[in-house]
């Protein structure tokens, strides 16, 4: 590993957005001493490596996604997102800059990246191809190959580049084919894709293109054998270059360039022209080729004999040609797993491939460990790929784009890299791994040495800061998790007695925006020893009775999620939320308010699982989080509270005079109605249907009888000194704000207003039930509910019954014995009720199946039955 320690030189720093550069779009290319660089912004920089200064900065009208150099024509092609491809002549570029140089003397100041005076806006005429859907392109000799995101499918198009001196505009499309797979995402929104597809040209050795394209950045020359195997007889007979497309969905497909040329604009048949070589099942970020076999002595130029493709998560495909036992040519195909996520990669000499992850730059050796092939070892035919790849670290982190420099030192490799922080650097690798003897130290040597050391320190410090950040994040996440664990344990272990963290719900009426609103106030109280920190949220689910009846009640319930931001021990937080009535003026009672604490694992742990800043790689936001459990958090139920009619009743008649005026308004009255009502003056009532009904129909009535003994036991001592009726009323309205007035005036009957504005009358009186008990008349209390609105009467009745049920259950637990009863009478009542219930059931069934006309009558009958059910008023003993 010592031999792999690279010698890193920082060349220049460039502006980068907060959070660093994202991988995928920055590019760096070099031609001689010139380095062309884009960071994914609108700018393209030209940097002179020898002079050590920035020579030009071009501003394009959109984000730059891709750069290609056509060295022979001295042209730079630039893909500008959502615009098209621009072509800059390099000679012209240099000229325009040298003119520029006279004006400003800050050429040394390359650290700034761009001083505004140097930025040359690119002429719109330089656009050689207008196409907003282009995603990537590549150039090959005189051809330009583009990959565009068509409405339904990826589309490969072929254009002829003009010769130098001609009109720089492309001469027109000479071929087109659609790939079989649709691009991911909606076609309607061709916004910046997460991953751009990758194109790569592979030429056979005989191709004229191969000769003229020796130091292309993306083109490779493949050995005939591998070429023929991969792309077929025709491609190798024609000696036609092949375009490889690596798509974000993981597909690796190829198109023989010469078959792509079609007459006119007729697209080629994609089935015949496009061949899918492999599916990597993760976005392909790099395609390249390598020479893995040692070169024979007499061969001058080496052709690659191994095709590689890298997926984003590190899955790597390598293909070589080999012969099977019978002597037939077969492709040898291997998949490896390298550490991901891969930001970028490059193929170097000697079978080495470099790939960068956020934490490291690694090199893998696809040659067979450097041992020459031994013909006496029959087990390994020629072209055997290693069974395992061992990445060796180069200790440079967050490199977002790489390119192998053409100015490689003897026996080594020089990489040009751009780090996420926007630093351009060269990494010189001496692959011979011979440490030079440090004996003769000259002054120049020392200077260079110091410079090397300084750059080394720079690299290490960048790496350290990155690693430190990651560790910090993880520690913080662990602390949070620990606290969450404590809280959960405390809550779950204390089933009995007061809970360390509690939530109580109360309801009040308040006026919001001209409308009276029933609001629930949830009070979260932390009496435990732990604090509720980041990641905790209070979830309040509001479920109305009509929603509860529907099958998918969970989906129709309204859930409020309120983040609990640091609730220390002993502190409390109050949350108020409106319950209704809604826009229709109706409030479906009862309403159930359930509170729960939710702890979001995603929020707390998510950050720590994604290494470094997420902005660097959008896909990281989702991928590592897959390890989290499905529900993504912990849910601890706290309390459940039911809001019924008795809690919602308002008593304007009881109100003290100075409070009376506002509450007289109907809670949901239309302001216009109110206004009109006010104009018409008192006494002239609006003839709405509700008021008509109230005036002319007898109110609905229901009554419940409860034995006085039972009530007394429940009401207990707290209401001593008042009559049982008053005590019962107070007990019923215990959760209502008006209870104090009721208590103060010792009322036994009260007139309230329901949420929808109709009256509800509660009357409580003592009665004697004679025919039930053989021992004589039984003391009982009758609770009578009266309302002009049937719905309100029902809701109030339901609320009272609910309380009674709870009371009976409590009393039964205490073990009080009922008095002696006349059973036959009770049986009679029960039988009656059962028969009525059966009838109700059949009617309700019929209601479901009948059409509108009949159902009205049925509903009418049903209501009658319900009334009958209630009428021999329920008796509780």
């Amino acid at each position: 590993m010592a031999g792999l320690a690279p010698q890193v030189d920082y060349l220049a720093g460039f502006c980068c957005p907060l959070g660093g550069l994202a991988a995928g779009k920055p590019r760096v290319l070099c031609l001689g001493a010139e380095i062309f660089l884009s960071t994914g912004s609108e700018l393209v920089y030209v940097y002179d490596q020898e002079a050590g200064l920035l020579t030009a900065v071009y501003r394009f009208p959109g984000q730059v996604w891709h750069l290609e150099l056509l060295a022979l024509r001295r042209a730079l092609y630039v893909l500008c997102a959502h615009r098209g491809i621009y072509c800059l002549s390099l000679d012209q570029a240099i000229r325009s800059v040298s003119q520029d140089d006279g004006d400003d003397g800050d050429s040394e100041d390359s650290q700034d990246g761009e001083s505004p005076s140097r930025v040359i806006p690119v002429d719109p005429d330089a656009c050689v191809l207008h196409d907003a859907t282009l995603c990537t392109f590549t150039v090959l000799d005189n051809l330009l190959i583009t990959l565009a995101q068509g409405p339904a499918r990826w589309k490969v198009q072929l254009f002829e580049c003009p010769c130098p001196g001609e009109d720089p505009r492309l001469k027109g499309q000479i071929g087109e084919v659609e790939l079989s797979t649709p691009p991911a995402g909606s076609p309607r929104e061709p916004a910046a894709p997460y991953f751009l597809p990758v194109l790569c040209c592979m030429s056979p050795p005989g191709s004229r293109v191969a000769h003229s394209h020796l130091h292309g950045s993306r083109g490779f020359t493949l050995e005939e054998t591998l070429f023929g195997l991969l792309f077929g007889t025709d491609a190798s007979l024609l000696e036609s270059p092949v375009i490889l497309c690596g798509l974000p969905d993981g597909q690796l497909c190829c198109v023989v360039l010469q078959t792509l040329v079609t007459s006119g604009l007729a697209p080629g048949d994609s089935k015949a022209l496009v061949k899918i070589l492999h599916h990597l099942e993760e976005p392909i970020v790099f395609i390249g080729a390598l020479r893995t076999e040692p070169l024979a002595e007499d061969v001058e130029d080496s052709h690659s004999d191994c095709l590689v493709a890298l997926g984003h998560h590190g899955r790597t495909l390598a293909v070589k040609a080999s012969w099977d036992e019978a002597g037939n040519l077969v492709p040898e195909l291997r998949e490896y797993c390298l550490p991901g996520p891969v930001l970028c990669a490059a193929c170097g000499g000697g079978g080495r491939m470099y790939h960068s992850t956020p934490s490291d730059l690694c090199v893998v050796d696809l040659a067979r460990g450097g041992t020459p092939w031994d013909p006496m070892q029959p087990d390994r035919g020629p072209g055997g790929l290693p069974s395992l790849l061992c990445p060796a670290s180069l200790s440079v982190c967050s490199v977002v784009t790489l390119s192998v420099s053409s100015r490689a030192p003897e026996g080594g490799t020089e990489l040009l890299a751009l780090s996420a922080k926007g630093r351009l650097m060269t990494c010189r690798l001496d692959l011979n791994s011979e440490t030079p003897s440090p004996t003769r130290v000259t002054a120049a040597n020392t200077g260079r040495k110091i410079k090397e050391l300084l750059s080394g320190i720079g690299t290490v410090s960048e790496r350290v800061s990155f690693l430190k950040k990651a560790v910090d994040q993880r520690n913080k996440a662990l602390t949070c998790l620990n606290e969450a664990m404590n809280v959960s344990c405390a809550l779950l272990s204390s089933r009995e007695g007061p809970r360390p963290i509690s939530c109580t719900t109360t309801t009040t009426w308040s006026r919001l925006q001209l409308q009276d609103m029933l609001t629930a106030t949830c009070l979260l109280e932390n009496s435990s020893d732990f604090s509720l920190d980041r990641g905790w949220a209070l979830c309040i689910q509001v479920l109305t009775s009509s929603q509860a009846l529907e099958l998918d009640s969970a989906s129709s319930a309204v859930t409020y999620t309120i983040p609990v931001d640091r609730l220390g021990p002993g502190s409390r937080r109050e949350v108020t939320l409106p319950l209704g009535p809604g826009e229709d003026g109706m409030l479906d009672l009862p309403v159930t308010v359930s509170c729960a604490l939710f702890y979001s694992l995603r929020e707390v742990v998510g950050g720590a699982l994604t290494p470094s800043d997420c902005s660097k790689d959008p896909s990281l936001d989702m991928c590592p989080l897959d390890v989290l459990p499905e529900q993504e958090g912990i849910c601890l139920p706290l309390s459940e509270h039911t809001v019924d009619m008795l809690q919602c009743l308002r008593f304007p008649s009881l109100a003290t005079p100075h409070m009376q005026a506002p509450s007289l308004l109907s809670p949901v009255s239309d302001p216009v109605d109110t206004f009109l009502g006010a104009c018409l003056g008192p006494g002239s009532k609006l003839a709405g249907p509700a008021s008509l009904r109230a005036t002319y129909l007898p109110p609905s009535v229901a009554a419940i009888k409860v034995s006085a003994e039972l009530l007394r036991a429940t009401v207990g001592d707290s209401y001593s000194g008042v009559s049982l009726c008053c005590a019962t009323l107070q007990w019923l309205l215990a959760e209502n704000a008006a209870v104090d007035i009721v208590r103060a005036r010792a009322l036994s009957s009260v007139q309230g207003v329901a949420p929808d504005g109709t009256d509800v009358h509660l009357i409580i009186r003592e009665v004697a039930v004679t025919d039930l008990c053989p021992a004589g008349p039984l003391q009982a209390v009758e609770i009578q509910v009266e309302s002009s609105s049937l719905a309100n009467m029902c809701q109030a009745h339901h609320a009272i019954i609910g309380r009674m049920q709870r009371m009976v259950v409590e009393q039964a637990a205490r073990g009080s014995s009922p008095p002696d009863l006349r059973m036959q009478y009770l049986h009679q009542i029960q039988a009656n009720h059962e028969m009525l219930l059966r009838e109700v059931q059949t009617l309700r069934d019929r209601l479901c199946t009948e059409d509108e006309g009949h159902s009205c009558a049925t509903a009418e009958k049903l209501l009658q039955l319900y009334r009958q059910l209630r009428s021999p008023s329920l008796l509780l003993l």
């Binding site: 005989g206 007889t233 010469q258 078959t259 007459s263 036992e325 002597g327 040519l329 492709p331 013909p375």
Partner: protein
């Protein structure tokens, strides 16, 4: 200024509407100026498109109002026209733009809610019903409806309610009564009437083409006539005439078909489809000279690349036509495909010299790297590249240019050398000794066969026999069990059809046998002929050669027995016609066929049977 409205409140509204209108009119004028190909003008058109988009945003940012709606709908129409003509196609978002426009109309009628779930047709239905109350909207709405037809193809959108009960799109378009546009209406890039005519022509043509492909010829004819009689730009007219020619020739009216093809050729600059169709027609008529001449012209026509003309910034007929697929009668392929067709027809019709020249041209076209232009191979519709080489070699031999044929074969083998199986296997043989040999593509054997034939022509019997032996050696190797191995191109499967392989073996055996005969080694020849008869009993050539050799060797009894069998066979119906063999193999087989079978048979009868009767 004096007539500025006294109603102060409506002034800003009216002037705003006027401003928007002026903006629309200005953009329309800009787009009309921008017709052309130059980059500046393209930029201008692009800017106009952006302008329309912004204007639309402005208009749709406000609640829909009836006075503004005609302008808004017109802007939508203009935007779609420009967008479609710039992008040369229709996209989903344009259709959505239309839908949004419709919803805005309904918004003013307060009918929006229940319509949302219904399909587009229902939306149109309700819009047009409600707009009958708003006559000022009608022109723009009809324009929009025409544009909606562009997106729907002809199956999604049911606009029959516009014109009564007609189901037929053509009839619908023809009877579509467009409301008259008012003179003061906002400007449009393309007016509704023009768009309707374009749609009418395009759909008539499409329908005709579809019917032509599916074989409903008389209906195709009437649709195509309809298209030709409509408003039809010249290039489209050429296509229509070609399709008419195809249709008529299929209906058995070659003379009328030729007339149409001729007018297609006179009409325009795209001669390809018409020439190809003419060559088919001449072939059908048996006029080989004319057929080959049209093919030659076709090759020439396809070599001319005429630059694409400046597209108009309108929705034109061309935009609505499908791109020709290989199945379409208007698909004429590429230059190399035409060249191949010409070369192979020459070879088939026995014009060997021409064929050889054309094949050499084709190979040069495909392989010569000196030209910057590249040309696609005849694949995938034609044969694969090795077959082109083999046919070229066969044509050269036939034309008496054996040396050239050898060069072509050499070229083929050298280009493929890296893909051939490795014969000596140091690691394989050392371990297992004898084992099955590697599979070799059949066309490699065929190359050796043709090389042998070339040597025969050059009079070098020894070399010829060794080539035939090499061919046989490769052929009799074990056939591969797994055909899936490697990315074999489709032609290799074609060559490996059992019949072709059998015939190839027979051809090689007969050829070698003939070689032995020439060098006087009759017994060896006999062996090969016998083998070939066994190998391929259907091939009568082998039997004839065998018979002749037997007679020469004076093996009378065997000869008689064999002759009787052969005679019985000749009485059976011949099956050879049904085989479809590769052209090079067919050519090769024709060389080794005994010339005059009937006379030979008679000769046998007299020379063999008479002495027997004595």
């Amino acid at each position: 200024r004096s007539h500025e409205t006294p109603l102060g409140s409506s002034t800003p509204h009216a002037s705003c509407l006027d401003l928007w209108r002026q903006r629309n009119d200005q953009l329309v004028r800009q787009a009309k100026v921008a017709q052309g190909l130059s980059l500046r003008r393209q930029q201008l058109a692009q800017d106009a498109l952006e302008g329309f988009r912004e204007l639309l945003h402005c208009l749709q940012g406000l609640p829909a109002a009836v006075p503004v709606l005609p302008l808004e709908l017109t802007v939508i129409c203009n935007f779609i026209t420009l967008r479609a003509s710039l992008a040369q196609g229709f996209t989903e978002d344009q259709a959505q733009g239309i839908q949004q426009g419709l919803e805005r109309v309904l918004e003013t009628q307060e009918q929006l809610e229940p319509r949302l779930e219904c399909g587009l047709s229902a939306l149109w239905d309700s819009v047009l019903h409600s707009s009958s109350l708003l006559p000022e909207l009608l022109p723009a709405l009809h324009h929009l409806a025409l544009q909606a037809l562009l997106f729907s193809g002809d199956d999604h959108l049911d606009l029959t309610f516009l014109s009564g009960a007609s189901e037929d799109l053509l009839l619908l378009l023809k009877t579509w009564n467009l409301p008259a546009e008012e003179s003061d209406a906002p400007l449009t890039i393309q007016d509704a009437r023009g768009l309707r005519d374009v749609l009418l022509t395009a759909s008539a043509y499409r329908q005709g083409l579809q019917e032509l492909i599916t074989g409903r010829l008389s209906r195709a004819l009437s649709s195509l006539h309809e298209a030709a009689s409509g408003l039809c730009p010249q290039p489209v007219l050429v296509q229509v005439y070609t399709a008419l020619g195809t249709c008529l020739s299929k209906m058995g009216n070659p003379q009328r078909a030729l007339l149409y093809l001729l007018s297609a050729l006179k009409g325009g600059s795209t001669w390809g489809p018409a020439l190809l169709e003419a060559s088919r027609l001449y072939r059908q008529l048996g006029n080989t000279a004319a057929e080959l001449e049209s093919l030659e012209l076709l090759v020439e026509a396809l070599s001319i690349t005429h630059g694409s003309e400046a597209p108009q910034l309108l929705i034109e007929v061309e935009l609505l036509l499908p791109r020709p697929e290989p199945a379409s009668p208007l698909y004429c392929g590429t230059q190399s495909q035409a060249k191949y067709l010409l070369a192979s027809r020459c070879l088939q019709t026995g014009r060997a010299e021409d064929a050889a020249e054309h094949y050499l041209d084709l190979l040069a076209l495909l392989l010569d790297g000196s030209e910057p232009k590249i040309s696609p191979p005849p694949c995938p519709t034609g044969p694969c590249m090795p077959e082109v080489f083999l046919e070229a070699a066969a044509a050269l031999i036939r034309a008496g240019r054996a040396q050239d044929a050898l060069t072509v074969c050499e070229e083929l083998l050298s280009r493929m050398s890296s893909l051939l199986p490795k014969m000596p296997q140091p690691w394989g043989n050392a371990r297992k000794g004898t084992k099955e040999s590697p599979h070799c593509p059949p066309w490699v054997s065929a190359t050796h066969l043709l090389r042998g034939q070339a040597w025969v022509q050059l009079g070098a019997q020894k070399e010829a026999i060794s080539e035939f032996s090499r061919c046989l050696e490769l052929l009799f190797r074990a056939t591969p069990t797994d055909k899936e191995q490697g990315p074999a191109s489709n032609c290799e499967q074609g060559c490996t059809s059992d019949v072709a392989l059998q015939q190839l073996r027979a051809a090689a055996l007969i050829s070698r046998g003939l070689g032995w005969v020439t060098s006087g080694q009759d017994t060896k020849a006999l062996q090969d002929f016998l083998l070939s008869v066994q190998m391929c009993p259907g091939n009568q050539d082998a039997s004839f050669h065998l018979l002749q050799t037997l007679r020469r060797l004076d093996r009378r009894d065997e000869a008689i027995a064999f002759w009787r069998r052969l005679e019985a066979q000749t009485k059976l119906p011949q099956e050879n016609a049904t085989w479809s063999l590769p052209l090079y193999l067919e050519t090769c087989l024709s060389w080794i066929r005994p010339h005059d079978r009937e006379t030979l048979l008679e000769e046998f009868q007299t020379s063999l049977l008479e002495p027997c009767d004595l």
